[in-house]
């Protein structure tokens, strides 16, 4: 397979939690510039896969490659420094730090100066309509604002290549959802950032993603455009059969 087009390649990955196969022989390739959707019923192993890609968990079997280089087994911070950022299903912001401070850290770890980091942060916060909250502690923000902060925080990485998002639209207000979609499009077109997005919102996934991968009970059961997978009997079964 051509390594240049494959930004991310997951090869036969298995993740066991005790006797549970949370990810069961999953393979998938994401090309540079894609916005890939990752869908599947609850408990199908989406978050687990993200945690494997970003080095939070160790794979039980199989391997994960990024630009042709093996990244499974690397520390999360090393993976981050290679240009992979992520968000968490339940937003993980630094609650006792201010909104601005939250933004600065990923820029600092990637060697941006204070001045550069601050102006970039203010630009992004402005875009996300969070600028007037910049000196507030993150714990004073609403759930949706925290999700938004978590998302724009990842954009602070100066060499962001792959952005993995775990349910970025879950439980956020319609207006915030709009900003998130807008930022994804902007970074994809303007900065050539590749996205892997877990979401339950079929309409959003359909509008945003060129291609979707469907997981069910830890296995990859389908892949293709939203129309293709929506008509796949296995997928229909997975969603209707529970």
């Amino acid at each position: 397979m051509d390594d240049r087009s494959n930004l991310l390649e997951v090869k036969n990955v298995v993740k066991m939690f005790g006797g549970l196969r949370a990810n069961d022989n999953i393979s998938l390739q994401v090309e540079k510039g894609e916005i890939r959707g990752l869908i599947g019923p609850n408990g199908s192993g989406k978050t687990t896969l993200i945690n494997l890609i970003t080095g939070i968990y160790e794979v039980t079997e199989g391997s994960i490659h990024y630009y042709g280089r093996r990244i499974d087994g690397l520390q999360s911070n090393v993976i981050a420094s290679m240009g992979i950022m992520r968000t968490f299903q339940v937003a993980r912001v630094w609650r006792d730090m201010t909104v601005l401070e939250n933004m600065l850290i990923p820029a600092f770890t990637q060697g941006l100066s204070r001045r550069e980091a601050k102006s970039r942060a203010e630009e992004l916060l402005d875009f996300a309509l969070l600028i007037r909250l910049k000196d507030k502690q993150a714990k004073s923000l609403s759930g949706g604002q925290n999700m938004l902060l978590q998302i724009v925080r990842g954009f602070m990485h100066k060499d962001l290549k792959l952005y993995v998002m775990d349910e970025p639209f879950a439980g956020v207000h319609q207006s915030i959802k709009g900003i998130i979609i807008e930022s994804i499009k902007m970074m994809n077109q303007g900065k050539d950032v590749t996205f892997l997005i877990v979401s339950h919102e079929m309409s959003t996934v359909k509008a945003l993603c060129n291609k979707v991968t469907v997981l069910c009970k830890g296995e990859r059961i389908a892949e293709g455009t939203m129309e293709e997978v929506a008509n796949d009997p296995q997928v229909i079964d997975a969603y209707l059969g529970g």
């Binding site: 939070i56 999360s76 911070n77 950022m85 968490f88 630094w94 006792d96 850290i105 004073s140 990842g154």
Partner: protein, 325 residues
């Protein structure tokens, strides 16, 4: 940021007062303050480790003990001069603490506290039991660095190293590393995912905090003239935490305010002897209940209260506080 803001001017005034204070106080109080400066370093460095970074170590006092014993034993048993034994004492605490830091990498919260406490007990018992070498419970004479029992030079020595330690901690906390340390305490998983090398900074903070404690301990020995395993008593650790909590955890002035005011209070209550600890504990409970942020929180509220009279508009902080009730 302005250099001549109110806070910095206040600090400068405090420093000038501290420099001239010995002129107007007795030898006894000079000695009391010297000890208070020792505890200021211990409290400030523990705040860096346990407060800002969330590495709740219960072995911090032990590093002062290791520093003190190393330097003293090198002089007494190997005839080393001060300029060798003092750096050696500090260096050894940094080496041992980074090893302990590596051991504690994957350990959090209560387990970290337990491991560091066990480490502290092992070290303390080592010094107690190897009496042929360490003098056991009786302790060992430590050569006085100024060759005199008069407290004034020691006062300035400890004032100097306390300022040094506080400045070093302030510089670290304002640097990028300071952001990383706070992010590690707040949410280590988020920190790792956002590129923070938490392994490196956890070991770094262990090494710096313990190195400062080691430095304080080395000079403590050479100022008091006698060191003993009492330095390793858990009481010492408890006092350090009390200073930080009363002063204000995770604030820069908190440990200083805490250490000096509580040491002062303890002197005033000297006649009460063992009852002092009861009074202190009661104060800690009151502070935890009403001023979670310690004395610094009290100051902040007072300041806010005075400002509110003058200014009126509700600040973001007040808004937040009202929301939380």
């Amino acid at each position: 940021m302005k250099i001549f803001n109110l806070k910095n001017i206040g600090l400068l005034v405090l420093l000038i007062v501290a420099v001239f204070l010995p002129v107007v106080i007795s030898d006894y109080w000079r000695f009391v303050l010297t000890i208070a400066f020792f505890y200021t370093i211990m409290a400030a460095s523990w705040n860096l480790l346990g407060g800002y970074t969330g590495q709740f170590s219960l072995g911090h006092h032990t590093f002062a003990m290791i520093g003190a014993y190393t330097s003293t034993l090198l002089m007494q048993k190997a005839g080393a001069p001060f300029w060798v034994s003092i750096p050696a004492g500090i260096l050894l605490t940094m080496i041992i603490s980074s090893l302990l830091g590596v051991m504690c990498l994957r350990i959090h919260g209560i387990y970290l506290a337990l491991i560091t406490w066990a480490f502290a007990e092992v070290v303390r018992n080592y010094f107690r039991l190897h009496y042929a070498f360490t003098g056991g419970d009786r302790g060992i004479d430590s050569p006085l660095i100024f060759g005199t029992m008069k407290p004034t030079p020691y006062y300035y020595l400890f004032l100097g190293i306390a300022v040094l330690a506080i400045v070093l901690i302030a510089v670290i906390m304002r640097s990028k590393i300071g952001y990383y340390l706070r992010s590690i305490r707040d949410d280590p998983i988020a920190a790792r995912s956002m590129g923070v090398d938490i392994v490196r900074y956890k070991i770094f903070v262990f090494m710096v905090a313990s190195g400062l404690a080691g430095m304080a301990g080395v000079f403590y020995g050479h100022s008091i003239g006698l060191i003993s395993p009492v330095m390793g008593d858990f009481n010492e650790m408890a006092m350090i935490i009390i200073f930080v909590v009363i002063g204000g955890m995770r604030t820069q002035a908190g440990p200083i305010v805490g250490a000096i005011s509580v040491r002062y209070l303890m002197e005033l209550l000297r006649a009460q002897s063992e009852f002092r600890i009861v009074i202190l504990t009661a104060i800690v409970i009151l502070i935890m209940r009403f001023f979670n942020g310690g004395l610094m929180e009290l100051f902040r509220r007072l300041k806010k209260w005075i400002r509110r009279d003058r200014e009126g508009p509700v600040s973001a902080y007040q808004e937040l506080e009202q929301k939380q009730g």
